[in-house]
């Protein structure tokens, strides 16, 4: 057998720092949408296709005005369906790409979320959530797309979703989203909400050489050995550069390692199992959360996005009354921090899940802690006005 060069170590190949052209180093006072756009530019995003919608418009507005000086493309598309597929074309042609929307547009994109999962296209979607369903409340926050982002397309697949709770995090997590998307070749989502998107705060953008970037991994195998969907232990296939003599074929049909359609249960099982497992098996590495005084707490408040800031205020009020309250905030919501929640279930009195919907992440928490805390001790604080984030002491 012909000897091939050993695979170069991943670290040498992909852990680089940001391209300074896209990095607006400095201290800014900007809103979450603008910060997310700067995050995308810093991460190396050079293609955005979008159909602007409130409350996400400022992201594409800023991208459109910034990109000519950075070098890249922005297209205002005819609709969200076209946007969500255009970014995949750009991704396969070699660019880091993104689209941006809110609930009504996000619903239209679902078909292509499934395609991105199936083709393993690295791309980023930002959903600045507003209250729905349908047109709902365009200028007020919601957090009711949390299950849609996970289950929106048909079939089995896994995605990664991050939830920022400040303009600074909109910047940081958008970079993180691009990095994870490249590392795992999976559509990755930044689930903002109108409030975080529209509120302005101090945003610190570090120098380019302090921003870690995970770039696309291209195969180094010779053409006769390369298979587009063959993977190693991490279950993530490496990309091929078009025009380098290696053949590749991509299809939304169930496909084998060559990328060719293969209509049988065995291929389906192998492929889809891998699509799911590449996230599930690496979940511990992807998961990120923040916790404070959780172990031994009478009650732990779980919340994310803008609600986590509102909850913080409620937690402070409860602590003043002498109640031992812990605070838990998933920063990466999908995959969910299952292991930690299961551990905490044995150490705390109960949970309160505060979210701007009528019960989504609370279902996940209920599932994880069932049998470990009394049923009454899981309280879903469904904020009854999903339009308005409120800080009531209850």
């Amino acid at each position: 057998m012909k000897k091939t060069k050993p695979k170069p170590k991943i670290k040498e190949l992909v852990h680089l720092t940001a391209d300074p052209r896209g990095v607006l180093t400095g201290v800014h006072f900007m809103n979450g949408d603008q910060a997310a756009c700067e995050g995308a530019l810093a991460a190396g995003c050079r293609f955005v296709a979008g159909y602007p919608i409130t409350p996400s418009t400022e992201i594409v507005e800023r991208f459109a005005s910034r990109i000519p000086t950075v070098g890249g493309i922005f297209i205002q598309m005819e609709d969200e369906i076209a946007s969500s597929i255009a970014i995949q074309g750009a991704a396969w042609a070699g660019l880091k790409s993104m689209t941006v929307s809110s609930g009504p547009g996000f619903s239209l994109m679902m078909e292509h979320v499934g395609l991105a999962a199936m083709l393993e296209t690295p791309c980023v979607f930002i959903d600045v959530q507003r209250a729905g369903p349908s047109t709902g409340l365009p200028t007020l926050p919601g957090q009711a797309d949390m299950m849609q982002v996970r289950w929106g397309a048909h079939g089995d697949y896994e995605i990664i979703a991050l939830v920022p709770n400040s303009p600074q995090e909109c910047f940081d997590l958008t970079i993180q989203a691009f990095n994870l998307s490249e590392e795992f070749r999976v559509p990755t989502f930044v689930m903002m909400d109108e409030c975080v998107g529209h509120m302005a705060e101090r945003v610190v953008i570090p120098p380019a050489d302090k921003i870690k970037i995970f770039n696309r991994r291209y195969t180094t195998l010779p053409p006769e050995e390369y298979l587009p969907y063959r993977t190693g232990k991490d279950l993530v296939p490496w990309f091929v550069k078009a025009g380098t003599g290696r053949r590749f074929h991509i299809t939304g049909l169930t496909h084998d390692e060559r990328g060719y359609p293969m209509m049988n249960a065995e291929t389906q099982g192998k492929l889809v199992r891998r699509l799911v497992d590449k996230i599930r098996a690496n979940a511990e590495q992807i998961v990120r959360y923040e916790e404070e005084d959780c172990e031994g707490a009478e009650v732990v408040v779980i919340s994310y996005g803008i609600t986590s800031r509102v909850a913080s205020r409620a937690v402070e009020m409860a602590r003043k009354q002498g109640i031992k309250v812990g605070r838990f905030r998933p920063v990466v919501v999908w995959p969910f921090p299952e292991k930690r929640i299961r551990q905490l279930a044995g150490m705390v009195g109960g949970f309160v899940v505060a979210e701007l919907n009528y019960g989504q992440i609370s279902l996940e928490v209920e599932r994880l802690v069932a049998g470990k805390v009394p049923e009454k001790a899981i309280e879903k604080r469904r904020v009854n006005q999903p339009g308005a984030a409120t800080a009531k002491s209850d």
Partner: protein, 204 residues
């Protein structure tokens, strides 16, 4: 004024500010100047939220800024410490909610105040003919900057230098001088009113 506000500061370390007026007066920009000055040039925490939708495009329009030393969790104004009203509608909507420790700044040529109410607030309600002053400076357009100058002078939350820097950052190129004049005009007007109040206090 400063004495009064200091007492309140102990109870709630956050300063909640709401500026409201009608679309086109530069209300949002005024909020961004205050927020930027505090967050970038004074090392404070600042959160800004603004009105969106049809009401911000010609109708009534408002911006909310919260300043503090610690991270601000809840980004909306609950009990404004400073209420700036630049239109009659804004005054009718928010002016009446003036809490016991809050102050009201209003455009006195535009807002038709309830005389009795304002009299009962004493020195906590201060008017300024901001639009007229802006016209004297050169353009009615800079009414918001006159108001920012007035705000900085009477509240003493921000150093005038910080606000000036923020103004230079945010106004369109070529209008820096006009805006800086507008700021000075509002600032001086505010200082004059403050010294009048202090004189009254010491003599009475």
């Amino acid at each position: 004024m400063a004495k009064l506000l200091k007492k309140v500061q102990l109870e709630n370390p956050q300063i909640e500010i709401r500026i409201s007026g009608f679309g086109g007066q530069g209300v949002i920009l005024a909020g961004f100047i205050i927020g930027r000055a505090a967050a970038l040039y004074e090392g404070k925490q600042a959160v800004l939220t603004q009105s969106f939708g049809p009401e911000a495009r010609g109708g009534s329009c408002s911006v909310q800024v919260i300043l503090g030393d610690k991270r601000i969790d809840y980004p909306y104004v609950v009990q404004p410490r400073v209420q700036v009203c630049m239109s009659d509608e804004a005054y009718r909507k928010y002016g009446g909610y003036l809490g016991p420790h809050a102050i009201l700044l209003y455009e006195e040529d535009i807002v038709r105040v309830n005389r009795e109410e304002v009299a009962s607030w004493g020195n906590r309600a201060l008017g300024i003919p901001a639009t007229r002053l802006a016209e004297e400076v050169g353009k009615r357009l800079v009414v918001n900057i006159v108001m920012v100058g007035f705000f900085v002078a009477v509240t003493e939350y921000l150093k005038p230098e910080s606000a000036k820097k923020a103004i230079q950052d945010l106004v369109p190129k070529g209008t820096e001088e006009l805006n800086s004049k507008a700021f000075e005009r509002g600032f001086k007007y505010g200082k004059k009113i403050l010294s009048q109040i202090n004189k009254d206090r010491s003599s009475g």
